[in-house]
């Protein structure tokens, strides 16, 4: 048993706001919220030094449920807003959060380029393989054979593999968590925040309303059988053969985080005039 050597400056409760989440009881997002607040407390951060940025969707409500600075943005554009914020205020710890529809479909392009830019922020995707807020349409990570009233016969489309895409696009830290393991997920989030550059944490977060069969995920998840690798080629081989339920840190890169150039001194009106002179 480990000794409780230190005294906590703030607890997870200090990062929870007074707003009551409106998610369905049983939703995995409750646990992800608990994991985020635990991670922030464990990192000894203070709410005023953290910003949580989101897009649109059930999980994107998360900024309001924390006491950190928050920005509930435009659908799919959470990473654009989060990137801008981190570049303008590098002193802040920036978490970007959202769902699989927001991040991989509407925001798919931003996801690719956020990985490529490698700005020092943490992107947490609560993946439930469905658009829950709009009543259960298939998302990019929905299995091709999943049938519903809104997708009779299934989509027949191969699902998106976010971890493989993140690695190929240049993410510097890739992990997968499960909402049924709040302490494990909190540990992953804390490690992602500490790791420099763009850290991507995908959290399998069941939607008990539109995908009740996802309750069985707790039997399917298992710790990744191998230690995290720094070698992207090895990580690629692992991720390409991944069953979708490996939990843990899967890749830890060493690419330096994007660092914006120091701002230049503003030009005087006469300098501007010279630039426009014919």
């Amino acid at each position: 048993m480990n000794a409780p050597a230190t005294v906590a400056a703030l607890t997870a409760q200090d990062f929870k706001s007074d707003y009551k989440p409106v998610w369905c009881p049983g939703c995995g997002d409750y646990t992800v919220l608990a994991s985020i607040t635990r991670a922030l407390a464990a990192l000894n951060l203070r709410p005023e030094n953290v910003a949580v940025v989101s897009g649109i969707g059930c999980s994107s409500r998360i900024p309001a449920y924390t006491t950190c600075y928050g920005f509930h943005g435009v659908h799919g554009r959470a990473l654009a807003a989060g990137t801008g914020l981190k570049v303008a205020r590098p002193d802040l710890t920036v978490l970007v959060a959202g769902g699989d529809g927001d991040g991989y479909s509407i925001g798919g392009n931003h996801f690719l380029h956020a990985c490529r830019r490698n700005v020092d922020l943490t992107y947490i995707v609560m993946d439930n393989h469905v658009y829950g807020m709009t009543k259960g349409q298939p998302s990019p990570t929905t299995e091709p054979e999943w049938k519903s009233k809104l997708s009779p016969g299934g989509t027949g489309l191969r699902e998106f593999h976010p971890l493989v895409i993140a690695l190929a696009a240049g993410a510097n830290f890739i992990a997968r968590g499960f909402s049924g393991d709040p302490s494990g997920t909190a540990t992953l989030i804390a490690e992602a925040v500490r790791h420099p550059g763009f850290s991507f944490v995908e959290v399998l977060s069941p939607c008990v309303t539109f995908r009740p069969e996802q309750r069985a995920w707790k039997e399917a998840v298992h710790p990744a059988p191998v230690a995290p690798t720094e070698d992207p080629a090895r990580a690629a081989r692992r991720l390409m053969t991944d069953d979708g339920f490996n939990i843990g840190v899967l890749y830890k890169g060493s690419r330096p985080a994007f660092s914006p150039a120091a701002p230049k001194a503003p030009l005087s009106p006469s300098d501007l005039e010279k630039d426009f002179a014919l």
Binding site: A5, P21, P25, K149, T209
Partner: protein, 191 residues
């Protein structure tokens, strides 16, 4: 939903050797810190469940969860007092339990917006049973230091008492009907 009130009496924890000098560090302090985390986590989870039931207009179950939360918070406070800790011990993320969550904490997936007091008590019963098993195992383990063994055995006894109390409470609330989760206006479109 039942109109009968859920039980209100909180199970009281016996006061463990009050006034005895407590070591600030070592296996006993570690054990008590872990027990504290277990109680706090349970209190916070019950409070979360109460909020969820409030949001989903299930006030009777919300009230019951809030009551359970207060009971667990009281237990946590008593540990702080017994140990003479001015501030709570840091809940280290490296701690591991037998399951993904501490033994007295129910998973978020175990609640339903139409659940009834009986279900909430069933959930609390499972929590207390897990806690009792966890503590009894520590008390029985040959490598456990004697002071920890005594405290764990005493706490396991308290959890057993809670199990009996909750079982008694369950007899006083109506058992849910078979179709308790039928919603005439369900969130998922039917055929």
């Amino acid at each position: 939903m039942s109109t009968r009130k859920a039980p209100t009496k909180a199970p009281a924890k016996r006061k463990r050797a009050a006034g005895r000098a407590r070591p600030a560090a070592g296996p006993y302090a570690d054990f008590m810190a872990r027990a504290y985390v277990m109680e706090v986590d349970a209190a916070e989870r019950y409070a979360d469940f109460a909020d969820q039931m409030d949001v989903h207009n299930n006030p009777e179950v919300a009230e019951l969860f809030r009551k359970l939360s207060r009971i667990e918070a009281l237990h946590a406070k008593r540990i702080l007092e017994e140990m003479g800790w001015k501030q709570p011990p840091h809940a280290l993320l490296t701690w591991r339990w037998d399951a993904p969550e501490p033994p007295e904490t129910a998973a978020h997936s175990e609640v339903h917006y139409l659940m009834q007091p009986y279900h909430a008590l069933q959930l609390a019963l499972r929590n207390e049973q897990r806690a009792e098993k966890f503590l009894a195992r520590i008390a029985r383990a040959p490598k456990t230091p004697p002071a920890v063994k005594r405290a764990a055995a005493e706490m396991a006894g308290e959890e057993r008492e809670h199990v009996r109390l909750i079982q008694g409470w369950m007899k006083r609330v109506p058992k849910p009907a078979k179709d308790w989760d039928r919603d005439p206006d369900p969130p998922v479109l039917g055929d």
